[in-house]
Structures are given as structure tokens and as C-alpha cells.
């Protein structure tokens, strides 16, 4: 029973680390803030959740606490990446290599007081 736990933990650590590394590679390689949020979002879903699963099997972390942690991570992670990408769009940060943009020209509900589009330095 104990060795089975270690097997699951090892697998979870390997897969979680792999996806975390892929997420960071994506953070470096992808062109703009919106695409990069996809890569970092993967670190928070796969990476952290799988490492928490591994921690249940090999450390004294209680499974109930891990369950609450995972639920909170899954609930809150997307909210964070939505907030960052939404703020970026409102600030007028351009997409790179975009094939379509259905949001272009639509009036985005301005928060009060309306924020002025910031001047964004294009890093070319």
C-alpha cells in the first residue's frame, strides 16, 4: 500500500514538473501577454495541483486540506488570468500575429472613472 502511494506520488511529481517546465518555456516563447497567460495558467492547474496530490502521499499533509486547496486553486486560477488579460485589453496592449479579433470595435464597459488607454512601448 505504501509503495503504491509512492508510485502515484512519483508519477504526479514527474507529470506536474513536466507541465510546469512546459508552461515556463511557453512563457518565454509565446509572443504577447494573452498567449503567455495560457502558458502560465497551465502551471497553476497541472503543476501545482499534481504536486499537491503528490504531497498528500509522501508528506503528512491531510487529504482533506489538499482537497480544499485544489478546489480553491481551480476556482481562483482562471479568475486571475481573466483579470490580467481583461486589464491588458482595456489598456490597449496589442495582440501579435492575431488571425481574428471579434472584440475589436466593441465598446468595452468602462469602469468608473474611465481609464485612459496607457501608452504601451512595443518591444520589437
Amino acid at each position: 500500500m505504501e509503495s503504491l502511494g509512492y508510485l502515484i506520488a512519483t508519477l504526479a511529481i514527474l507529470v506536474g514538473t513536466f507541465f510546469s517546465v512546459v508552461g515556463i518555456i511557453g512563457l518565454v516563447r509565446l509572443p504577447d501577454v494573452y498567449s503567455r497567460m495560457h502558458a502560465t495558467g497551465k502551471v497553476s492547474t497541472f503543476g501545482v495541483v499534481l504536486l499537491t496530490v503528490a504531497a498528500v502521499f509522501v508528506t503528512p499533509l491531510a487529504w482533506s486540506k489538499a482537497l480544499v486547496l485544489i478546489a480553491l486553486l481551480i476556482l481562483v486560477g482562471p479568475v486571475v488570468s481573466h483579470a490580467i488579460s481583461s486589464a491588458s485589453y482595456r489598456l490597449g496592449i496589442p495582440m501579435k500575429q492575431a488571425v481574428r479579433d471579434d472584440l475589436a470595435g466593441k465598446r468595452v464597459k468602462a469602469p468608473s472613472p474611465p481609464i485612459q488607454p496607457a501608452r504601451v512601448e512595443r518591444a520589437e
Binding site: 511557453g26 479568475v79 481573466h82 492575431a98 488571425v99
Partner: protein, 160 residues
Amino acid sequence: MLAYLRLTLICWLIYLAITANLEVANLVVGLLIGLAIALILKPMSQALSLRRLPGALFNLAKYAIWLSIDIIRNGIRVARIVLDPKLPIRPGIIAIQAGMKSELGVALSAHAITVTPGEQVVEIGDDGVMYTHCLDAIASAEGAEEAQRKRRAMLESIFE
């Protein structure tokens, strides 16, 4: 009254899960904290009725499993894109009609889209249109309506 009790119970269970300690003193402290949170939050009474709870929980579990499979499948797809030497991305923002009336439904649809790697909701329009940024906008636009219909059916089975 019932709403207060229900919120107290939920907070109590979460507190017990976090502390993972079933001593009597801890049970009492958790109950007091749950009660205090319920009194501060002032819950609304139109939440789930107890009679429908087992069905809703079953549907919630089904939804969680479906969502996990979706996350894993899209995670592998995005990993492949990121590791490809040519980096074959076609990013773009597509409009997806949520097709749900309640704000909770739209919010949960947007959550389900954003939690899967490769798609994320950037903005929600007045009429419940979710403007979704996709790493591969052309492929995502094809399956988006179908996926949203399935998502909506599952969410409605939980809440209605």
C-alpha cells in the same frame, strides 16, 4: 434561517477539512467561526433546496469529471504547440454566445472556458457574449458552439 444554517454548515465543514482535526474543542471553534461568517455574509435564501441536493451533487461530480478530461486533453494540445519548434499558433479573440440568462451561469461558463488551457475569456459583453482569446482561434471557433451547448446543459442540470 435555513439559509444561515446551511452556510454555517458549509463553513464548518470547510474549516474542519482545512484543520483536519476532530477534537471537541476544534469542532466548537469551527462551529463558532462558521456562525460568525454566516452572520456577517447574510446569505440569500434562494439557494439549492435540500431535496434536490443529491441530484445536484451527482451532476456536479459528472461536470467535474468532464471538465478534468477537457483540461487534460487541452493541456496536452497546448504543450505540443509550445514545444513545437515552429510554434504553430493562430491567436485571436472569438465571440462565444453563452446562451444563459443568469449571471452565475455566464460566470461559470467563462470559468470553465478559462480553466482549460488554450482558451481564456478576456471580456464579457452586455448580452452574455464571451470574448474568448484562443491560442488556435480557427480550430477553437469550429468547436466552440458545440462545446458551449454541452457546457450549458451540464450547468443547467446542476442549478435548475
